[in-house]
Amino acid sequence: MARALINVPSKAKRGEIIEIKALVSHPMETGYRTGPDGGLVPRDIISRFLCTYNGEEIFSADLFPAIAANPFLSFTTVATESGRIAFRWIDDKGQAHLETAEIVVE
């Protein structure tokens, strides 16, 4: 699928609330737009986003065509322990793009 940029602090204090930002390249084609040939451009969107922290889901989103191209999301989580934060974007066809970030919690 795509290229993604994620922003997670590499270090945090235990109990600190950290902000996570995730940006992925995707046209979010609505299915309502006319292409150069006059026909409708088929819908192609990321409909689901999931974020896990050491395997446990901490945030997810259902996305609709009204989300801007190259979807951006930011949300927060409490830094509980060192480990891996994983991001998954899933499109209409079920194809997924995975990205991970390591965090050290002291």
């Binding site: 989103a61 989300i67 801007a68 989580t77």
Partner: protein
């Protein structure tokens, strides 16, 4: 000089407006969400529960220079503890072809109930954010915004 509408000034304006692809012509869409379809999408989300105003703050610029990318932040007043937290935040719009914009699922591990994203809006309209809390209550905020049109787009 296609549309003569009387005065010289108006004619000139029409030339510029109509002639220049320099006025975005938003292509008519095959379908549009109406306030009624937004109402039914909201009903599907809240069921029979009552939606109260408050606790939720929907932050969205009142005047947007391009509807393709409108920044939006929702903040819900909540301690975000195991006992008392925000479960879901849903965003709805009135005039896009579909009333749903996004549904965010969060929990006590979020620490704070703040979510940002960027949305697209084909037209000036009303946006609604509704939060479902862990106690089953629903809270909302709404915002009215004006989408202006870009100039010199590709046709």
């Amino acid at each position: 000089m296609s549309e003569g509408s009387g005065s010289m000034g108006a004619t000139r304006r029409d030339v510029l407006a109509a002639g220049a692809g320099c006025l975005a012509l938003i292509v008519a869409r095959p379908a549009r969400a109406t306030p009624e379809s937004m109402a039914s999408a909201i009903k599907a989300f809240v069921g029979e529960a009552e939606v109260q105003t408050g606790k939720v703050a929907l932050d969205i610029p009142p005047l947007v220079e391009n509807g393709n990318s409108v920044p939006l932040t929702v903040t819900v007043e909540s301690p975000m503890t195991q006992q008392d937290f925000v479960r879901t935040i849903a965003i709805f719009n009135e005039k896009n072809p579909q009333p749903n914009v996004a549904v965010f699922h969060l929990g006590p591990r979020a620490g704070r109930a703040v979510v940002s994203t960027r949305i697209r809006l084909g037209d000036s309209q009303n946006i609604v954010a509704i939060a479902r809390l862990s106690d089953g209550t629903f809270w909302s905020d709404s915002a009215e915004l004006i989408v202006t049109l870009p100039a010199c787009v590709e046709s």
